[in-house]
């Protein structure tokens, strides 16, 4: 297996696969809304606006072949969430999958958590390649029991592989506002779910109740100034969690300090640049994603125009800031008019935490190499779909003269994922999933 990102400055990305329909007309239900590798990278789950989850599995035969190790095939497809209706509030609850999080593997089956706006579900994905045959009374039509002369013991016989997905737990009725995040704790027993104003702690085995650990709802809703936008558990410390807010502030909470973590243990906030203040400063400073590094030493936040890397030991300013699409700053008014300014981009770390990746418009996605201080802009396009074809970096002018007309806001990459152990990435455009791999020398 290639050392993930060791020579990240020399990484060249090759097209591997693209999943999804080719049609230009995209059905809204097919819009990809979540992408997540499991802990080994063997499985890749995607969720869409129609409430479906599609799981891809890395082809085990090709794992050892360097040129084909990024081949993923459909493993399982199931309907995770259905649209619901809240009769009391007369509100429809969308079935769109907001987040998918895998659980560490404990046995032969795979488990994942999926959530829409209101309900979290624990799914078990298991394989069945044997079935019992040789029943005494049933093997096809019912046998006449009077004709049975002897008893036989049913035996397992091989069958075609069948992958079953079954809901094992449903965690419902705990969120009055829209769920934006779920995160599995490193203790493998609990997880958190976060909505706009509250964060709840669940036990994976208990669906009837959850603990509220963060509540920022003001006594008077007219005093509301800030909402929670993303939350995540620390990868190693089971008592530590962080949540980002609409004000661009990240708060770290320690559950050992108190049952209710309203008082943060640490706050991460960069002083505002007064010179760049505009009508839309509050919108573009809102945190859209927060991710701990695999080591747990750093965390990354994404706002509308930049990615920031924070050392969790220093809250005064980020240690690194990468401008993702600064050229949009002069077009914020147009982006506000067409609603794109409210888009929430996610970000992800490479397996060795050396490179970070995030999406942008025009189906561009950007990678920032922290070690070599370099960045690259690549495009996920069906025009570059030749197998093993190397992606050529796109040159994007960083000047301020870029017209909004050259920014295709309908082609946006909101969701990306990086294989935890290898240089394989999954990039979701509107309704297509692109898989790229590092070209091995």
């Amino acid at each position: 297996m290639a050392e993930a990102g060791e020579k990240s400055s020399e990484m060249e990305w090759c097209f591997s696969q693209v999943k999804g329909a080719i049609d230009d007309e995209v059905a809204e239900a097919d819009l990809i809304s979540a992408v997540e590798f499991n802990y080994t990278g063997e499985l890749l789950a995607t969720g869409d606006k129609g409430g479906r989850i599609v799981i891809f599995q890395q082809n085990p035969e090709n794992k050892s072949q360097p040129q084909c190790h990024a081949e993923y095939n459909v493993y399982s497809t199931f309907q995770s969430h259905e649209p619901e209706f809240d009769y009391l509030k007369s509100l429809e609850i969308e079935e769109k999958i907001n987040k998918i999080r895998w659980l560490p593997k404990k046995n032969a089956a795979h488990f994942l958590l999926s959530t829409n706006d209101k309900t979290i579900k624990l799914w078990k994905i298991s394989e069945r390649n044997k079935r019992p045959e040789g029943y005494n009374l049933r093997n096809g039509p019912y046998k006449d029991f009077t004709s049975i002369a002897s008893l036989q013991v049913p035996v397992f016989k091989p069958m075609d592989l069948m992958v079953e997905a079954s809901p094992r737990r449903v965690f419902a009725n705990a969120h009055k506002y829209h769920i934006n995040s779920i995160s599995v704790n490193s203790d493998n027993e609990t997880y958190l779910s976060a909505d706009d104003l509250r964060i709840n702690l669940w036990h994976l085995e208990i669906t009837g109740q959850s603990f509220n650990i963060v509540d920022i709802k003001p006594a008077n809703m007219e005093d509301l100034t800030e909402v929670i936008t993303a939350a995540e558990f620390h990868p190693n410390q089971c008592h530590t969690l962080v949540y980002g807010s609409s004000k661009g502030i990240i708060r770290l909470c320690d559950m050992r300090a108190a049952a209710l973590c309203d008082k943060h243990a640490k706050i991460f906030e960069e002083p505002e640049d007064r010179n760049s203040r505009s009508f839309f400063s509050e919108i573009i400073s809102s945190i859209s994603d927060v991710k701990f590094s695999h080591s747990g030493r750093y965390m990354m936040t994404r706002d509308y125009l930049s990615v920031k890397i924070w050392d969790i030991n220093m809250g005064t300013r980020p240690i690194e800031t990468f401008q993702v699409n600064e050229y949009l700053r002069s077009n914020l008014c147009s982006l506000y008019d067409n609603d794109c300014i409210f888009d929430k981009f996610e970000c992800c770390w490479s397996g060795n935490d050396r490179v970070v990746m995030t999406g942008s418009y025009n189906n561009f996605f950007r990678m920032f190499d922290r070690g070599f201080r370099r960045d690259v802009t690549l495009e996920a396009s069906r025009e570059n779909c030749k197998p093993q074809s190397v992606l050529k970096p796109c040159k994007v002018s960083i000047g301020l003269e870029i017209s909004i007309d050259s920014v295709d806001c309908n082609k946006k990459i909101l969701h990306t994922a990086w294989h935890p152990l290898d240089n394989i990435i999954a990039v979701a455009t509107t309704n297509n999933l692109f898989i790229f791999q590092d070209k091995l020398k």
Binding site: K89, S90, L91, E92, I93, E94, K96, D117, K176, Y177, H178, N180, D196, L197, K217, M221, E222, D223, L224, T225, E226, V227, T229, S246, R274, R277, F279, F280, S281, E282, I283, S286, C333, Y336, D337, D339, F342
Partner: protein
């Protein structure tokens, strides 16, 4: 008055988005509604600041009361003086537009947003928006998080502006 016109346009767009989000599938999004409200506040503050500057230029003299030293970058402060040039439609947006009086204006410079007490009751729909009566059966009328400074010398606090917006009550 480019800034003022742009600010007004942004406010109109924000109100339109708030209206349309009521019928969105999945219900109102608290985060989005909050951001729109903050944009409206910023636009309104900048509109006031621009209007104030224009009035000063027009008058060409120092006003009797303390000059409105509103930092255009400081959106947490708001002048509540009148603007004779304000279009009648905008007066309905905020009742803070009153006749100028010899008074001391107090401004809360440098106040952080967190320390601002918000009184968001709103009572009139701006007439530059299409007429659309809210038909809410349940008391889910929300308040636009409009922030303004109330100067005690100005008398009673301005009456609120009603922009029906459903933030799910708890």
């Amino acid at each position: 008055m480019e800034v003022g016109a742009e600010a007004k346009r942004i406010m109109v767009v924000a109100l339109g988005k708030l209206y349309s989000s009521r019928t969105q599938r999945g219900g109102l999004r608290l985060h989005r509604s909050l951001l729109l409200t903050l944009v409206m506040k910023s636009a309104r503050d900048m509109y006031h600041a621009a209007a104030q500057e224009e009035e000063e230029e027009y008058n060409g003299v120092v006003p009797r009361c303390d000059p409105a030293q509103v930092d255009s970058n400081n959106t947490t402060s708001t002048s509540t003086t009148t603007t004779q040039t304000v279009e009648p439609s905008l007066e309905q947006v905020s009742d803070s537009f009153t006749q100028p009086e010899p008074m001391e204006q107090t401004f809360t410079h440098g106040q952080t947003q967190q320390s601002r007490k918000r009184r968001g009751k709103i009572s009139a729909v701006p007439d530059f928006l299409p007429l659309k009566k809210a038909k809410l059966d349940c008391p889910t009328q929300l308040v636009v998080l409009v922030d303004y400074v109330t100067c005690s010398d100005l008398g009673a606090a301005p009456s609120p502006i009603p922009v029906p917006m459903a933030i799910a009550a708890c």
